[in-house]
Amino acid sequence: MSTIVKARYSSPGGASLARMPKSGTLSYFEIALLAACVGVLVLGIPESFMDVVLLSFLWGGLALAWNIAGGYAGMISFGHAAFFGVGAYTSTILSVDAGLSPWIGMWLGAILAALVGGVLSLVCARLRGPFFILSTLATAEVIRICALNWASLTGGPEGLAIPPVASLASMVFDSKQTYALLMLGYLVLMYVFTKVLEASRYGFYMFAVRDDEDAAGAAGINALFVRTAAMALSAFLTAIGGSLFAQYFLYLDPTHVFSLELSFQFALLPALGGLGTAIGPVLGAFAITPLSELLRSYLGDSVAGLHLVIYGGVVIVVMLYFPGGMAAALNRLAARKGGKGK
């Protein structure tokens, strides 16, 4: 029935550098990847590349956040931009209007987003599959329209700007490197959290509810509670990413921040990288973000949209023929290499 590769237990072939990390353990691959990230940060690289690096880190964290609800608990959402935007706007409004440091404001935004996510889950508890996806879409759209029209709060279509005055307290920095450090911090924390979660009993509960809700119920698991908690958690963590983004980009407007395209991105990166694994979303983010940024800068001007055509094509091919995503493909590669007695 399901051909999505199970990435949770060992495949034959012994240890190898390229093997995807098992849950609950730390593999060489992960350490190497982390070292590479830190290295890139520390080495002097051209400013233009710093943007891509920092965005890759941020998207890695955001993809991991989405994955908790979508990949682990099976609640595929095309509306996560709602949580991203709520986080971004809350910390920004509190910072710009009330002078509250984003370091604090972002937690408030996250709590608000978690409430929205939790309520959405409860309200749409009986919806499955495409119906649930549509409800997430509708929620994000409703919030976008409200944000667009509630100009007194959100600045409406003109958006909100954060004064580019660097200071630690206001989470505005001069150097891109500092931002990249911030984003890397987010990514690493998200990754560690995800790994701990997937090895814990709560992670197991989510997988059970995802794979077969009735069986989970028969095993004493309260599926409604698990779903709601997963969505709230995912929303919380996405909102934090939203706040970080706002502090980097220094400008928010509802059309972009609550957009459908953004919501798709949150879902696509984990799907391409490998749902249901911790490393998958990171791989997806690291592969796609630079690719799309580079494609956009080299092709985007000459032939607007070509990079996205390629992107769309890649999505189709990967989803149909490599449903386990990059993580599973790499797993298979590693298994084959290991089998050859390397």
Binding site: I4, C124, L268, L275, G312
Partner: protein
């Protein structure tokens, strides 16, 4: 009072056109149990096709549909073979994401080839409206309404009386049993998907005289289509018509009494209400919403 009647009338007419564009989606879901997230882009393609016919062959969309509809049927077959078939035996999210990828591709292909500009067809009736009593009706809307009604009845007739219709109904009720009875389920799927695509092409030809076409026009309408399909009941053709009319009226009235921006807000709220309280929709069977993708 006249304003209200005018609003309701326009709402019904526009809504019926919305319904026409949603019938394909509901048919595909009813039979194949998949959601085509590229549905809006199918509409966009049809609209560009109709526009091209008008621009280069000089025919208006109502004539152009003679070519656009079969072309969309063939396109539907192509998409079915390339994208749907490999995804059918996999978890539903595979098709969800694959059709999303298709949607991104098509939008950007349109952007590359046609540019982001809005295209229209020249008005066919001199921009005049027909008078019906004290009310006014844009001719294009009235034609669209008639076509929508005609199509709904034709589909009903096909489904109820023809062998194909019976085969489709059997497949909907129990695809394994249908297959055991000798019904070529995959052929039915192919025909249904392609027909859904053709219906979108028809809707596109009817919509072009009223709405402009641009690469992301699909995004606007696909959400409306989803709302209509859920409201009317997934798989119900009459439900799509009813749902479309509801949405048209809600949008028309809320745009006038509140603000155009809020038009969308209200039917999304309506959408959420339906999803929560009666996910099977107005005419759907109860329990349809519990049907996941995998049988």
């Amino acid at each position: 009072m006249d304003t209200l009647a005018q609003l309701v009338l326009s709402g019904i007419l526009v809504g019926s056109i919305y319904a026409l564009m949603s019938v394909g989606l509901t048919l595909i879901f009813g039979v194949l149990r998949i959601v085509n997230f590229a549905h809006g882009e199918f509409l966009m393609l049809g609209m560009y096709g109709a526009w091209a016919m008008s621009r280069f062959a000089g025919v208006n969309p109502y004539v152009g549909l003679l070519l656009v509809v079969p072309a969309m049927f063939l396109f539907g077959m192509l998409v079915y073979k390339l994208i749907v078939t490999p995804g059918l035996d996999k978890p539903h999210l595979v098709i969800v994401f694959a059709t999303m990828g298709l949607s991104i591709m098509l939008q950007n292909l349109a952007l590359m080839i046609m540019s982001a500009d809005l295209f229209d067809v020249p008005p066919m009736f001199g921009g005049r409206s027909l008078g019906i009593g004290p009310l006014y009706v844009k001719t294009e809307l009235l034609i669209g309404f008639c076509i929508a009604l005609g199509v709904t009845f034709a589909m009903r007739w096909i489904v109820k009386t023809t062998y194909l219709g019976k085969a489709i109904r059997a497949t909907v009720q129990d695809r394994e049993a249908a297959s055991l009875m000798g019904i070529p389920v995959h052929r039915i799927f192919l025909i249904t998907f392609a027909s859904g695509s053709a219906l979108v092409g028809l809707a596109a030809c009817v919509m072009l005289p009223v709405f402009s076409v641009f690469p992301t026009v699909g995004l606007n309408f696909v959400l409306i289509a989803f709302v209509i399909v859920v409201l009317g009941g997934m798989g119900s053709i009459e439900g799509a018509l009813l749902g479309g009319i509801c949405i048209g009226v809600v949008q028309s009235m809320s745009s006038y009494y509140f603000a155009p921006a809020y038009g969308q807000l209200f039917f999304f709220i309506l959408f959420m209400l339906v999803l929560v309280f009666r996910p099977a929709g107005l005419m759907g069977q109860k329990g349809t919403a519990n049907l996941g993708m995998n049988p």
